[in-house]
């Protein structure tokens, strides 16, 4: 990269046509496959298989459409860090939601006490909200 000279048009890397066409076809096939699988009830495997297919599709999209197969490692790392932090966000939040009441299981449904928050009526910017409460 550093040795490129100005004013000399330098064709950047061009993604070979066979990869793009191949990706297009496989993405379409996978999308249809996913729909077909969803029509059968395979129990827990439904989610597992379908999520697997989603991940394959996402990987194909990134590798060949976004061109990560030929990209610099640093750029890929940069982009994937978004997913890493998303994973941190999700997993830490789940560490709360999944383990609530682990040490003190109060024998009542944790969600579903129907005492509702009444919006303050009249005079505010959303007075029409009162109509809906309850």
């Amino acid at each position: 990269m550093q040795t490129q000279h100005e004013e000399v048009p330098h064709p950047h890397f061009m993604i070979p046509l066979k990869y793009t066409v191949g990706t297009l076809i496989s993405l379409l096939v996978l999308a249809v496959t996913n729909v077909i699988i969803s029509q059968f009830d395979l129990g827990i495997y439904n989610i597992v298989i379908m999520f697997g297919i989603i991940l394959v599709m996402a990987t194909l999209d990134m590798l060949f459409f976004m061109g990560f197969r030929w990209e610099r490692g640093f750029h890929i790392m940069m982009f994937l860090s978004g997913f890493v932090f998303l994973f941190i966000f999700l997993s830490f939040t789940l560490s709360d939601i999944m383990y609530r009441n682990a040490t003190d299981p109060y024998k009542m449904q944790p969600y579903g006490i129907k005492n509702l928050v009444k919006p303050l009526p009249a005079g505010g910017e959303h007075s029409e909200r009162t109509e809906h409460s309850e």
């Binding site: 950047h12 061009m14 996402a58 982009f79």
Partner: protein
């Protein structure tokens, strides 16, 4: 302007020392921006995951209110448009100005089709009162169904806004292509919008099965 090819030479901005450095900055900047997009959508996906954990039954029922046929159609539109986007970049790299323009146009039209189908879907939801809780009047077994449609409209709505922004960018690219600003030596905006378009595509690859299919 080179009158023979209709190509306008690109000039490197004053604070960069080479076009390679300029391209590198644009690429890195775009990728970092796309990271923020991933996290922006990510918040909604986290909300999805948590609600799903809290109310699995609601999601099973909700998927039956959505039409997988229309969803699949939209998936096909979007994946194809990602392909034509790539082809337009490729055409610019090969100095094929006309082809570049037409591929952009096809991409734009496919995006428009996507939005059209989206409009049909939204209209159906409106008709059945399947709306966020403020206006929800639909029928459903799950008590928390309004919650799902809040999430549904938030996720697909935000994605739709990104498609519309992308369509605006495509128009901008078409105008610049007509002016002959992209050629083998300079096609940075094409490539960057392309990356954006693929991320929007990526989001839909997740959205479609999660909302319409998995039950």
């Amino acid at each position: 302007m080179d009158s023979a090819t209709g190509i306008k030479q690109h000039h490197v901005a004053h604070h960069f020392s080479s076009s390679a450095q300029e391209f590198e900055a644009a690429k890195l900047g775009t990728l970092v921006f796309l990271v923020t997009e991933v996290l922006f959508f990510g918040g909604l996906f986290v909300g999805y995951a948590i609600l799903r954990m809290m109310y699995p039954a609601m999601f099973v029922e909700a998927a039956s209110h959505l039409s997988w046929q229309l969803g699949l159609l939209n998936t096909i539109f979007l994946i194809t448009s990602a392909f034509t986007m790539i082809m337009s970049v490729r055409s610019a790299q090969l100095n094929k100005r006309q082809a570049c323009f037409y591929f952009l146009l096809i991409t734009f039209l496919l995006a428009a089709c996507f939005m059209g189908v989206k409009a049909i879907e939204y209209a159906q939801k409106f008709e059945h009162g399947l709306l966020p809780a403020m206006w929800f009047s639909g029928e459903g077994v799950a008590e928390t169904l309004p919650l799902f449609f809040g999430l549904y409209f938030a996720m697909t709505g935000l994605h739709g806004i990104h498609i519309i922004v992308g369509m605006g960018l495509l128009i901008w690219l078409m105008i610049r292509t007509r002016r002959g600003e992209f050629y083998s030596g300079y096609f940075t905006p094409l490539e960057m919008v392309g990356l954006y378009w693929h991320v929007v595509d990526l989001v839909w690859i997740f959205l479609f099965p999660l909302l319409y299919l998995i039950r």
